[in-house]
């Protein structure tokens, strides 16, 4: 009977067991790796350029073209989803030349875009 049991054991034992210590160390290593990777992923996603900022930049180009075409040299304020644009026009003390500044507020980001255009 004992011989049969040993034979069965030998045929069935194709997975050798790791020791407990080894298993725990392996699990710790894998868990720490995965958590570091999640941290990196989260950090990269959060520091990447905001979609609102990109939309605001495009909007500013549109507003600048509109200002040139319609010659609307007046201060103005625009509010959109996710960002706000404030337009300030300053007449430079020369022949019909204006400094147009766009102040963009998107969340905590504040950016200024300056242009000089002629009438």
């Amino acid at each position: 009977m004992e011989k049969v049991n040993i034979k069965l054991l030998k045929t069935c034992s194709f997975f050798k067991a790791s020791s407990l210590t080894e298993s725990i160390i392996a699990m710790v290593i894998i868990t720490s790796c995965i958590s570091v990777s999640f941290l990196i992923y989260g950090r990269v996603i959060s520091t990447d350029m905001n979609l609102s900022t990109l939309k605001a930049e495009q909007k500013i180009k549109e507003l600048l073209l509109k200002t040139k075409k319609e010659k609307s040299f007046e201060d103005d304020y625009f509010s959109y989803t996710g960002y706000e644009i404030s337009k300030r026009v300053q007449f430079l003390n020369t022949n019909s030349v204006y400094k147009v500044s766009f102040y963009v507020t998107s969340g905590t980001n504040n950016t200024i875009y300056d242009y000089i255009i002629e009438e």
Binding site: F14, V36, V44, V97, I116
Partner: protein, 406 residues
């Protein structure tokens, strides 16, 4: 049969995760660098463009030497300078941010303030229109007199010769000052015969190249950019030359039949455009003769079918006795403004404004003063966008605008 080795598998998995994370970080880093590079480029271009717009209206604040511009607060440094290039000006603006530089050279011309077709000072003689002569636009003429004329067998054919208003002119033409200038910065002088190749391009960011020609005939040359071709004697320009944006300076300049190019000419005695010559926009002819010798004739001659898109100015000292003439033959055309401190023989077409002391027509038998035969002056055909030289000195100097970027 798998051996025990959970530690090994853990290390392999770690390495794989590590590779994925690193590649993710690298992609994100390069993507950010690229977007920062693009946004820097955009800001550089936008700052450069803004400075160009500012100095289009304030060019008197600049000179030939680069001046640092502080219009915007930021890390982008901009310098600007302006150079005279014949009738036109070149505005150079360059913007720098760390390792990126943008240089823009703009070819500038004056906005045309002349809305009239003809200005003839009052010498007490009216103008006589003969044949198919017509004027489209307002005119300033002696005592507002414009009459039908008769030369041998030719009389005025049409019902109307003036499509515009008449005004009384003053006794003198407006005086032009410094209308044709070339900046006197450091130049490089080279003999044309010593050039190794027949092609030469010189950027406007470099020193002007003065090409001295000892030969009378210029043939098979390709010259463009910041170049002045000088001769102490006459120059004959063959049609196989390819000349663009250069200045030619010689006492007499003649262009062969069929020549085409963009040139400004500074002569002392004579400029001749033979048949079918085309001087494209922005070209120009300037003759400045202060010679008191009456025998020296100053002349611009546009032969049959020749065209020039630009300005023609023939001027000189008011005390000078030398004869000054502009002759525009049949089918010859000028697109631009013409100023003649002398006499104009108009048989062709001027699409722009003409300022002249008087008209004349020379026939086989005689010559007639203040007669216009078959010539047409049409102010409306010159577009408002045309930039060149404005002879209207009222209300100060004209604004400058960009013709093209070099």
């Amino acid at each position: 049969m798998l051996k025990a080795g959970s530690l090994y598998y853990a290390i392999i998995i770690c390495v794989l995760i590590g590779i994925c994370c690193m590649s993710f970080l690298l992609i994100s880093h390069y993507s950010k660098m690229h977007s920062l590079f693009l946004s820097t480029q955009t800001e550089l271009l936008s700052t450069n463009n803004s400075v160009v717009n500012y100095y289009l209206n304030n060019h008197h604040q600049l000179d030939e030497y680069y001046k640092e511009v502080t219009i915007f607060n930021g890390d982008i440094k901009t310098k600007a300078s302006i150079h005279s290039w014949g009738f036109y000006k070149i505005l150079k603006v360059f913007s720098v941010f760390k390792n990126d530089t943008i240089k823009v050279n703009s070819y500038l011309g004056q906005v045309n303030k002349d809305t009239i077709a003809l200005y003839l000072p009052d010498k007490g003689k009216p103008i006589f229109m003969v044949g198919k002569a017509k004027i489209y636009g307002d005119v300033f003429v002696p005592n507002k007199q414009l009459k039908r004329g008769y030369i041998t067998t030719n009389s005025f054919n049409n019902k109307i010769f003036l499509y515009g208003n008449k005004f009384k002119s003053s006794k003198k033409l407006p005086i032009l000052k410094n209308v044709f200038k070339v900046s006197n910065e450091q130049n490089v002088s080279v003999n044309l015969e010593e050039l190794k190749k027949d092609k030469l391009y010189n950027s406007f960011n470099k020193k002007t190249i003065i090409l001295n020609s000892k030969k009378y005939i210029i043939s098979n040359k390709k010259l463009s950019g910041n170049i002045i071709l000088i001769s102490k004697d006459s120059l004959y320009i063959r049609k196989n030359n390819n000349l663009e944006n250069i200045i030619i300076k010689a006492p007499k300049v003649v262009f062969e039949k069929g020549f085409s190019g963009v040139i400004q000419i500074h002569a002392i005695e004579k400029v001749v455009l033979e048949n079918n010559v085309l001087l494209k926009y922005p070209s120009g002819i300037f003759i400045d003769n202060n010679n008191n010798n009456k025998a020296v004739k100053t002349e611009v001659l546009l032969k049959n079918n020749s065209k020039i898109c630009g300005s023609i100015v023939v001027t000189g000292n008011s005390t000078s006795n030398s004869e000054k003439l502009i002759t525009i033959e049949k089918k010859a055309q000028v697109f631009g403004n013409v100023y003649c401190y002398g006499s104009t023989q108009l048989l062709g077409e001027i699409n722009g404004t003409l300022y002249t002391e008087q008209f004349y027509i020379k026939t086989a038998a005689s010559s007639f003063e203040n007669y216009v035969k078959d010539g047409v002056i049409n102010r409306s055909k010159l577009p408002n966008l045309f930039l060149g030289v404005s002879f209207n000195t009222n209300n100060g100097e004209s604004k400058y605008k960009i013709i093209k970027n070099l």
